[in-house]
Symmetry: C2
């Protein structure tokens, strides 16, 4: 809470939902905010300029990936993360923990840290709370994340309890490690779908001197209803003066549930990953460009969208043709559309909070999304993929 250059204020409240503003050394972020994920220092398929044009004000980069390749020292030598990635606005790095637990092999965890094999070249690596903070300091994002233990979505209660206890011990070590000047640090609350564990862990993390508090370990394979229950029970009780960040969530339905519960920040690879599978997010639910009904369609992806992909003559027929032929431009356009859509979704929620009608806005929007459109049936929103 004392990091110089870092500020957060809540401008409006509407039920549990909040309309706020985050300030960092690289600009302001209107919240609730969706943060596009630049796994390797680039949001897949898109330039920094295009990402900014979707309304994004903060980008996330993955510590694990950049540490393994090209190395944090290389990023630092090239001017640190902002210059390296050409993203001049606020940046956030995760701790690397989630990728260690989900991507690396031969993972061995002990109280000091985690030893694992790199998924890139098989090299043995070790990450500790202190190491994660040092790497994040070298990368140079505006916001760093504490190194936590993130159990799988189907872990039993004892495993979750152990991860919670270890995450608390590691949180203290993260806070005790020197950071880059002006770099904020967020703590992470674990506890799976156990509301009582969540509350207890939140109390521990909230008592520490973190600049913001995140909910980790959600959208990792659990039932959507269980995640929404945790959100509704726990998020409103998070410290009001600090930003609240729901990690790894990006499906429209879950973003809406999170905002209604009082979450301020989200990140997910869903918009770009789904694009690479041909899926478009629209105001009428998910759509798949591959469907043969699009072959001769001169309609845009989403006739209700005012974004750069739906107002400049890209027909569904052309995009389907390019997608089926493996042309990069199809992936670019769908990725840009999906990020623009999430930007518009967040802008819609911010306006609705200011107008005091976010619950009605959410009901209308969810109803419309469930109706589906000409592009295809109203699929359920998919579980959020991770990078």
């Amino acid at each position: 809470m004392k990091t110089p250059g870092f500020q957060f204020e809540v401008l409006h409240a509407d039920g549990a939902a909040r309309r706020g503003r985050l300030s960092t050394p690289h600009g302001t972020v209107d919240t609730p905010a969706f943060m596009p994920v630049g796994t390797h220092g680039s949001v897949k398929g898109l330039t920094a300029e295009e990402v900014a044009a979707t309304g994004a004000q903060v980008m996330l980069a993955n510590t694990y990936h950049l540490w393994l390749r090209p190395g944090a020292d290389v990023v630092n030598a090239l001017g640190s993360l902002h210059a390296f990635t050409r993203w001049p606005r606020t940046m956030l790095t995760d701790s690397g923990g989630f990728q260690v637990f989900s991507l690396a092999s031969l993972r061995k965890i002990d109280d000091d840290g985690v030893t694992f094999r790199s998924h890139v070249d098989g090299a043995m690596c070790r990450l500790t709370p202190e190491g994660s903070i040092r790497i994040q300091a070298t990368l140079g994002a505006d916001i760093a994340m504490a190194f936590d233990e993130c159990p799988a979505g189907d872990a039993d209660r004892a495993t979750v309890e152990s991860a919670v206890a270890r995450t608390t011990r590691w949180a203290q070590r993260c806070l005790a490690t020197p950071r880059r000047e002006g770099q904020a640090l967020f703590g992470i609350v674990q506890g799976g779908t156990h509301v009582d564990l969540r509350h207890a862990h939140l109390a521990e993390i909230a008592a520490m001197d973190f600049d913001g508090i995140a909910l980790g370990g959600l959208s990792v394979g659990e039932e959507t209803a269980a995640m929404h229950e945790v959100l509704a029970e726990v998020a409103p009780t998070m410290p009001a003066a600090r930003p609240r960040y729901l990690m790894g969530v990006g499906a429209p339905r879950d973003l809406i549930a999170g905002v209604l519960a009082g979450i301020d920040m989200f990140d997910c690879v869903l918009p770009t990953r789904n694009a690479r599978n041909g899926q478009a997010l629209t105001w009428h639910g998910r759509a798949n460009i591959k469907q043969s009904r699009n072959q001769r369609s001169d309609a845009p992806i989403d006739s209700q969208c005012d974004g750069p992909c739906c107002t400049t003559g890209y027909s569904r027929g052309y995009l389907r043709h390019l997608f089926m032929g493996g042309e990069m431009v199809a992936l670019r356009v769908l990725s840009l559309h999906n990020l623009y859509f999430l930007g518009a979704l967040m802008r819609g929620m911010r306006s609705a909070i200011e107008a005091g009608r976010v619950r009605a806005w959410a009901d209308e929007t969810l109803t419309r999304m469930r109706e589906g459109d000409e592009l295809g049936p109203a699929d359920d929103v998919p579980p959020s993929p991770k990078s």
Copy 2:
């Protein structure tokens, strides 16, 4: 020469080199011009807006590819090629012949046409001169190409003579087939590297009522010196009042040789294909972004380039990192850079012709390109790949 809406004038001459202007129903084209190739209706990795920003005023699309997928009728239903591809300027389609001879299998040629298996789904297809013109009429480019027989670069003289004779017979059939209103038609001169055959075939094709004349069957595996000899001997004798098009050529050295010999139009997939292999075209020769010396380099791809990739903070180190990680943005940036470079090369030659010093400009530029730069040794310019 009588196609309404189609005009060509030579504005300046400097030796054999010409500075001209082509007018079509979709705009003017300053020549000498390089035409980016949108194989499936999209220049690989780039939007139509980006292609236009490199200075390109005409785009080529491949009849063979679009005929097989999505089908010429689909393109027509979606507003024909200009609306389909969102390219509002001049478009040219090839005849499909080159791809039939280079991509299709079980190819069987007879005097009426070619029967072959589609490389997409193995279906038996047949293309004739009349069929090619009809497909091109349906696609709707401003300039169509005659259907020719293009022998391999190592074909013997008898095979080349046979292809020349057949190409002449097919040229007459192409001219006799109705085209889309306002669509120009170019004839193609074959003859391999045999200067006498080239001259004889040129006389036949030039006597026909084509709006422009192309040299086909070059850059198909023959020695560079042999191609340059054909250019120097044949190109200056092509009809002066009509545009001269050298097909499938895009290496800087060959573009310069072509312009000096009086060629007005070129096309090649080289700039985008080389980009996908990590190669950048620069004023100091070819460079490869993959080289480890680029790992910590904060220099742009080409410090002498004033294009959108070299003046906006893309470091070699960042591009190398993205390229090694398979990130699309690296392919985008290198593709855009290479196309911009060729656009700048053509602008440089047009200015030099206007100033009456294109030979000196060519000598200076070729010397600089042979010197190489920090990015790597001054490789020979590679043979031009085809799509």
